[in-house]
């Protein structure tokens, strides 16, 4: 790794000032599980690495029925899957936090870092899109909010401008009769990069027999995570049935634009999107019914 300077700001404003002073030569770091590998491998370079872990807002993990979940951008995965409020209200988020890397990686890796790294395969991004997450950003010009489905702009690219940092994610409180799930396909049991992944959330009516709405998002099948609005919208107002689920999975497959690479072929990935959409929808429905 080339020479870097390292700073540990204690507040959001201090962090923004440091990031802004170095422009594109500054790099934020949360758990470092992406950025240290990239800096060492020469895929990214920086003059200043700014540690986000001592800023209170970036360590916040709080839930209220009114405001939903506030997930600080530097909170590591293990804190997420050990948190009672997340376990009770966001099982779809637990699905992702507990499968990123192994236990050592989960001790450091944050969801904020997973999102900012903007890998098409980032496992936390589809479930957060499915859960209507919003990114809370602060920069030299103040605060702004971006829906997570609009955050990634290309492989390793996101909407953050020089000097801006991701402070937290907000995920609305789950409505009654809603449920979510994330699944990915990997050839091993653990520690691999998704060949394809699907996150879904559903809102059912009080009878549990009809869809009110649904959101579906895909990993590893395009240059960015994909929000398949057509797939989710196709379920709105329909009775829960294998036919409706099949139709949604076909719409999701149509939105998948994968490439052939060493992990999988176009055909396999599109097929997987169909399978995983059906499975995650069924799991989300079961959770929505309280199962």
């Amino acid at each position: 790794m080339e020479w870097i300077d390292f700073a540990t700001p204690k507040s959001v404003s201090e962090a923004v000032e440091m990031m802004a002073s170095k422009g594109d030569r500054a790099r934020a770091m949360a758990g470092g599980t992406d950025v240290l590998v990239q800096l060492r491998g020469g895929r990214r370079s920086a003059d200043l690495v700014v540690d986000m872990k001592e800023i209170p807002e970036l360590n916040e993990l709080s839930y209220s029925a009114q405001n939903g979940l506030t997930l600080g951008a530097a909170v590591p995965c293990y804190r997420i899957y050990q948190d009672k409020a997340v376990i009770d209200n966001y099982p779809g988020l637990i699905d992702a936090a507990s499968l990123i890397g192994g236990i050592q990686i989960q001790g450091r890796a944050s969801i904020g870092g997973n999102l900012c790294n903007a890998a098409p395969s980032g496992d936390s991004i589809p479930p957060i899109i499915a859960l209507s997450g919003v990114a809370n950003i602060t920069g030299p010009n103040g605060n702004r909010q971006v829906p997570v489905e609009d955050f990634c702009t290309g492989p390793g690219q996101n909407v953050l401008q020089n000097g801006e940092i991701l402070v937290s994610l907000t995920i609305p409180a789950p409505q009654p009769h809603s449920g979510a799930n994330y699944l990915r396909f990997i050839p091993r049991n653990e520690m691999d990069i998704a060949v394809a992944g699907v996150g879904t959330s559903v809102l059912l009516d009080a009878s549990g027999q009809n869809f009110v709405s649904a959101r579906i998002s895909l990993a590893s099948v395009a240059p960015t995570p994909v929000f398949s609005q057509a797939a989710g919208d196709s379920l709105a107002g329909k009775a829960v049935s294998d036919e409706a689920i099949q139709e949604a999975s076909e719409k999701a497959m149509a939105d998948a634009k994968p490439i052939n690479d060493m992990r999988g072929t176009v055909r396999q990935r599109v097929h997987l999107v169909g399978v995983l959409t059906r499975r995650t929808l069924n799991n989300a429905i079961q959770r929505a019914r309280g199962g």
Binding site: W3, I4, D5, F6, G102, I103, Q104, I105, G107
Partner: protein, 157 residues
């Protein structure tokens, strides 16, 4: 030297001071600066777990931590397990169960397993295998490692 940082940290219960460059990993600092070579380097990119240490109460890959991040923190390395009275039960079980061949992965497995047993004394095979998924071994085929951890968990009760 400009930019060299003084780090004060606690390793295996003792205060340690060292000087490092911000780009140096905790693994490099432990091995090359402090001279504690028990922690091993396998991949240097987070995949093999050979460099596992307990950092601030959690197991982490020390190759993916910067040395400067150790400022004010506490950590346990493989050197912190045995006492003057003898080996740690995990070390004893690894020997008895022949859970190592070349030994490069062993400190990482033992420290990772300690991280598990310290917080969950009751473990079954599935839990041990899942917990150790971030540790790779090219020699043993894993079975003996898993058996050694289960054996140690019995001894530690």
């Amino acid at each position: 030297m400009p930019g060299v940082t003084h780090v004060q940290t606690t390793i295996n219960g003792e205060e340690v001071n060292f000087l490092c460059e911000p780009r140096q990993s905790l693994l490099e600092c432990l091995r090359d600066v402090v001279g504690m070579t028990g922690t091993k380097e396998g991949c240097n990119d987070g995949n093999c777990g050979a460099c596992t240490v307990i950092f601030d109460g959690r197991i982490v890959d020390s190759c993916l931590v910067l040395g400067v991040e150790a400022q004010g923190k506490e950590m346990t390395t493989i050197e912190g397990l045995a006492t003057p009275e003898g080996l740690h039960p995990l070390q004893q079980s690894f020997l008895e169960q022949a859970a190592l061949q070349c030994g490069i992965c062993t400190p990482g497995f033992i420290v990772a397993a300690k991280g598990l047993l310290d917080q969950e004394p009751d473990v079954d095979e599935a839990r041990v295998r899942h917990w150790l998924a971030g540790n790779l071994c090219r020699c043993t085929g894993y079975d003996k490692i898993v058996r050694a951890v289960l054996d140690a968990s019995q001894k530690m009760k």
